[in-house]
C-alpha cells in the first residue's frame, strides 16, 4: 500500500515538474506528461492501479469533448466544415495507412496508424492559438472548423476500429459492428428536443456533492456499457457528454468535473508513456521519421487545399496548415486502443512507441511553427516594404 502511495506521489510530482517546464518553454503540457511516463517506466510497479486511473482520465477527456462540443456551430457552418474536414481526412488518413502497409501491418493496424496520423490535437492547437493571439485571424475559423470535424470523426473512427477489432473483419462481423454503431450512436446524435426538459429535471440535484457523484456514475456506466458492446470506453463517454451538453446543467457539470478531468487526464498521458519499455524503441526511428515528415507535409498540404478555395492570403494558408500539425490526445487514445486490442505481432509491439515519437515530434514542431511563422512573416513583409522604398 505504502509502495503504491509512493508511486502515485512520484507520478504527480513528475507531472507537476514536467508541466511546469513545458509551460516555461511555452509548450503544451501533453508531451511533457508523456515524457514523464517514459522516464518512469521502470519505476512504477502497481500498473493495475495506474491503468484504472488512466482509463478514468480517458473517459473524462472524451466526456468533456462531448460536453463542450458545439452542435450549433456545426449546424451553422455545416458546409464549410464538411468540405474542409473531408479534405483533411482524405489527405492525411492514407499517409499513415500506407506506411502501416509498407511495414507489413494488416489493414486494421494500418488503419489505426492512418487515424493516428490524421487526427490533430484540439487541446494543443486551441491552446497554442490562444497563446499566439491567433484566434481573431481570418484563418482561425477554418482551423477551428476542422478541429470540430475531427472531434466528431475521432469518435466514429474509434467506434469503427474498436468495433471491428472485437467483432472481426469478416462480412458477418463487419455488418454486426455497423449495425451496433447505428443503434448505439445515432440515438445520441439525433436527440429529440422533447427529451431535454425531462433530462433537465432528472439532473436537477441540489447538493453539489450528490450532483458530482451522479455525473461521474453516469459517465462510468456509459463507458462500461460501451465496452460491453465491443467499443472503446471513450465512445460511450463522448456520447453521454454530447447528451449532457444540450441540458441546462452543462456549465455546472463542467465546473464540477473539470478538476477531475485535469487530474486523471494527466495520469492518462503519463501512463501512455509508462507503457513503453525503453527497449521498445529499437527499430522505430525510421517509421517515426517517415511519419513525422509525411504528417507535417500532409497538414501543410491540407491547409493549402482548404485555404485556396476560401480566398485567404498565402500567409493565412501557411498558418492554417502549420496550426494543424500538432497531434496529441486523440492519437494517443487511438494508439492505446490499438495496443489493447490488436493481435500479438510487430504492429501491437511498436504502435505505442511509434505513436509516442510521432506525437512528441509533431507537437513540438507544430507549436514552435505556430509561434515562429508570424514572426517570420512580419520580417519578410518589412523586408519587401523597405525594398520597395529604396527602389
Amino acid at each position: 500500500m505504502s509502495q503504491s502511495l509512493l508511486e502515485l506521489g512520484v507520478i504527480l510530482a513528475v507531472l507537476f515538474a514536467g508541466g511546469l517546464i513545458a509551460s516555461r518553454l511555452r509548450q503544451s503540457v501533453i508531451p511533457a506528461y508523456i515524457l514523464g511516463g517514459i522516464l518512469l517506466h521502470n519505476f512504477v510497479t502497481n500498473v493495475e492501479l495506474i491503468n484504472l486511473l488512466s482509463t478514468i482520465g480517458l473517459m473524462l477527456l472524451l466526456f468533456f469533448i462531448g460536453l463542450e462540443f458545439s452542435t450549433s456551430y456545426l449546424r451553422h457552418h455545416a458546409r464549410p466544415i464538411a468540405r474542409a474536414g473531408v479534405v483533411d481526412l482524405a489527405v492525411n488518413f492514407p499517409l499513415g495507412l500506407l506506411i502501416g502497409r509498407a511495414m507489413g501491418w494488416d489493414w486494421l493496424a494500418s488503419s489505426y496508424l492512418g487515424a493516428i496520423v490524421y487526427i490533430s490535437s484540439s487541446a494543443v492547437v486551441t491552446k497554442a492559438m490562444i497563446d499566439n493571439r491567433q484566434v481573431a485571424n481570418p484563418e482561425a475559423d477554418t482551423i477551428i472548423g476542422i478541429l470540430v470535424f475531427e472531434d466528431l470523426a475521432i469518435v466514429l473512427i474509434l467506434a469503427l476500429l474498436t468495433g471491428f477489432q472485437s467483432g472481426g473483419v469478416e462480412a458477418a462481423g463487419l455488418s454486426w459492428t455497423l449495425l451496433k454503431i447505428v443503434l448505439f450512436i445515432t440515438p445520441f446524435l439525433l436527440i429529440p428536443p422533447s427529451v431535454i426538459p425531462r433530462l433537465n429535471r432528472l439532473l436537477h440535484v441540489e447538493s453539489t456533492e450528490l450532483f458530482l457523484l451522479m455525473a461521474l456514475a453516469v459517465v462510468l456506466l456509459a463507458s462500461a456499457l460501451s465496452t460491453r458492446l465491443g467499443f472503446s470506453e471513450a465512445v460511450g463517454a463522448f456520447l453521454v457528454g454530447l447528451l449532457f451538453s444540450e441540458t441546462a446543467h452543462r456549465q455546472r457539470i463542467i465546473d464540477r468535473l473539470a478538476p477531475f478531468r485535469d487530474l486523471f487526464a494527466a495520469i492518462f498521458f503519463l501512463s501512455f508513456g509508462l507503457m513503453i519499455p525503453w527497449e521498445g524503441w529499437s527499430g522505430t526511428t525510421l517509421p517515426i521519421l517517415g511519419l513525422v515528415l509525411l504528417g507535417v507535409a500532409g497538414k501543410i498540404a491540407t491547409g493549402w487545399l482548404v485555404c485556396r478555395s476560401s480566398r485567404l492570403s498565402t500567409r493565412a494558408c501557411a498558418s492554417t496548415g502549420t496550426s494543424l500539425i500538432p497531434r496529441g490526445e486523440f492519437s494517443i487514445i487511438l494508439a492505446v486502443a490499438a495496443a489493447a486490442g490488436l493481435p500479438d505481432g510487430p504492429a501491437r509491439e511498436t504502435i505505442l512507441p511509434i505513436a509516442a515519437g510521432f506525437v512528441l515530434a509533431t507537437g513540438a514542431i507544430g507549436v514552435i511553427g505556430m509561434r515562429e511563422l508570424p514572426i517570420y512573416w512580419e520580417r519578410r513583409m518589412e523586408k519587401t516594404k523597405s525594398e520597395r522604398g529604396t527602389r
Partner: protein
C-alpha cells in the same frame, strides 16, 4: 447594428465591427474569462495591436465606451453635491416668464441653472427643449449652485 457575432468552439465568442475609419475591431470573449481587443488596420490580416483585459477591466472599459460610466470617487461626488442643489420653482401666472420660451429668457446663459423637468398639470416634461413655452402654474425642477438659483428667480420675475 454593425456588430457581428460568432462562436469559436474551445475559445469563446467572437465579436467584430467594421469601423467608419476602415478598420476592423475584433473582440474575443474567452470562456476562461479574459477579453481581447484586436485592431486590424485596413486590408491587414495581422492585428496591429492587441489589448488584453480581465473580466473586471473589460466591464469598466465597456462602461466608459458606452457612456454609462459615472465618477465613482465618492469624496469628489460629495463636494460636487454640496455645491449643487435641486430646487422646485413655480412659475407665477402673469409673471415675466409666463408665455415665454426658455430660449427667450436665456436661462442657461444668464443664470447658469439647468431646467431638468417641467411639471404641468398631470404632465411631466423631462429635459425640456429650449423652445418650450413656460406657462403659469408650471413647476420647474432646476439644478444649479445657490447663486445661480438666486439669479434664476430674478429672471423669472423679469427683474
Amino acid at each position: 447594428m454593425k456588430m457581428h457575432e460568432a462562436e469559436l468552439p474551445g475559445v469563446g465568442r467572437k465579436f467584430w465591427i467594421h469601423t467608419d475609419a476602415g478598420e476592423k475591431v475584433t473582440i474575443i470573449r474567452h470562456s476562461a474569462g479574459k477579453r481581447e481587443v484586436y485592431r486590424f488596420q485596413k486590408g491587414e490580416e495581422f492585428p496591429s495591436s492587441v489589448i488584453e483585459l480581465s473580466e473586471e477591466e473589460a466591464r469598466e472599459a465597456g462602461a466608459v465606451l458606452s457612456g454609462e460610466f459615472r465618477l465613482r470617487t465618492v469624496e469628489r461626488m460629495d463636494v460636487i453635491v454640496k455645491e449643487m442643489s435641486l430646487e422646485w420653482v413655480k412659475v407665477e401666472t402673469g409673471s415675466h416668464a409666463d408665455g415665454r420660451t426658455i430660449r427667450d429668457l436665456a436661462i442657461r446663459t444668464k443664470t447658469g441653472v439647468s431646467i431638468l423637468a417641467i411639471l404641468r398639470e398631470d404632465l411631466c416634461i423631462p429635459g425640456p427643449e429650449s423652445s418650450e413655452v413656460l406657462k403659469g402654474d408650471d413647476v420647474l425642477l432646476v439644478i444649479g449652485r445657490p447663486e445661480h438659483h438666486k439669479r434664476f428667480r430674478k429672471v423669472l420675475a423679469g427683474e
